[in-house]
């Protein structure tokens, strides 16, 4: 009787010990050292895996952070708090997260633009866009029916003078308007951007002139003027690189059609 009990205990004990030894040896010989900082950094990140940082999810960003040389302010959902705690952990200077605001890249008010057709149909931008790309002569500009305004959850967009305008104080940079606009003329730009191009026309200068008095004519004056090389004309449209832009406003001064706007600083 007793022998049986002892035998059972012994068998289990021996098996357990063997299992423990095997696992201990395995983790000793096969184990791959895991970088502790990656784990700590990963725990700090919100885990939304949104990809806004430009890496493949939070794991990718954590690895890049642990490897060093990467800014801590790339996580937009985490905001400045995450940036701060990351910087504390990694021993680097904290930088605030750059907030984005929606911006409508068109200034084509009815006075400035020409019409090529009369439209008498459903008053949504989408419907307008489907019928010959809308009644405006410029096929790139704002249609002014306010599809963006109707999807905006915070009522930050209103159509003023035939063009949609974003109130940056209300914008939460959700990007719904960016997705909704059938002309794709809304984009998210950094909150502290001082200048922005208010035209989306890829027509050449002569063609744009005929249709709109405030459209970008691709004269490249801004490109030549900018001392930081932050502005380039691509495909007949000026484009600002906000990484390089210092907000000096010289481009806006030289622009002959005033299609570069100076935004008020916050």
């Amino acid at each position: 009787m007793f022998v049986n009990v002892i035998l059972a205990v012994a068998v289990l004990l021996v098996t357990g010990v063997i299992a423990a030894i095997i696992l201990a040896l395995a983790s000793h010989y096969f184990g791959i050292p895991v970088d502790e900082t990656v784990h700590k950094v990963r725990a700090c990140l919100p885990g939304a895996n949104c990809g806004a940082c430009g890496y493949t999810g939070c794991d990718g960003y954590a690895e890049a952070l642990a490897a060093g040389g990467v800014k801590t302010n790339l996580c937009i959902p985490g905001g400045s708090e995450v940036s701060k705690s990351l910087a504390e952990m990694l021993g680097v200077d904290a930088e605030d997260v750059v907030k984005f605001k929606a911006y409508v890249h068109c200034n084509g008010t009815p006075e400035a633009t020409e019409k090529s057709a009369e439209y008498d149909g459903l008053l949504t931008c989408n419907a307008m866009c489907l019928s010959c790309a809308g009644p405006d002569a410029c096929k790139y500009g704002c249609l002014g029916c306010g599809d963006c305004a109707s999807v905006c959850p915070t009522h930050a967009i209103c159509v003023e003078d035939g063009v949609a305008r974003v109130n940056p104080d209300r914008c939460i940079s959700c990007g719904l308007c960016v997705k909704t606009c059938p002309k794709h003329i809304i984009s998210l730009i950094p909150e502290d951007a001082r200048v922005a191009v208010i035209c989306s026309s890829h027509d050449n200068g002569a063609a744009t002139r005929k249709k709109c008095s405030v459209g970008c004519i691709a004269c490249r004056k801004c490109e030549k003027t900018c001392p930081y090389g932050a502005i380039t004309v691509e495909d007949n449209l000026a484009k600002i690189d906000y990484e390089k832009c210092t907000g000096c406003g010289m481009c806006a001064e030289v622009c002959p059609v005033k299609c570069i706007a100076v935004r008020k600083s916050n």
């Binding site: 049986n4 035998l7 059972a8 068998v11 289990l12 098996t15 357990g16 299992a19 095997i22 696992l23 395995a26 983790s27 096969f30 184990g31 791959i32």
Partner: protein, 198 residues
Amino acid sequence: MDYKILIYILLTSVFVNNYVLQRFLGICPFLGVSKKLDQATGMGISVIFVMIMATAATWPVQKYILEPLGLGYLQTILFILIIATLVQFIEIALKKFIPALHKSLGVYLPLITTNCAVLGVTINNITDGYNFIESMVSSLGCGLGFLLAMVLFSGVRSRIEGSDVPEAFKGLPITLVAASIVSLAFFGFGGIVDNLFA
């Protein structure tokens, strides 16, 4: 070696005695990771792998340690111990030697550590009196059956997702109803395999 009996064991364990749909073991991963086809396939393949390894480890233990010592009642606890160790060991080894495979199976391996389907296969192989080769074929069949159930059910679930389910049935209830209907369908295999070899 009688190949007929091996084929018989394989077919019965895939279709007739399907672990998920007929014996109702391993329901947890069946409901948990059957939402997407790629996950379901990954889980199914991991289960096949672990079932075969577990049988290869536990059958000799039962035959050469437990039975001669008359300790048959230690079967369950000892098998759990062995399977858990084995899965952990496989995970460590895979991470080291085949990182690509570890990346695709790694998520599922800890889930299977003490999965009842794996334990069920090893114990049933003993109670059914299979020899070593038969046990291995049986566990391969059971794993294939698990994979089949997972893949079929992930298809069913993706159809459910697109359909208009009454409010009270949304989520788990409708999934369980669907699972029971798939299970009913598998009862139809009962007579087929027996008659094939009659």
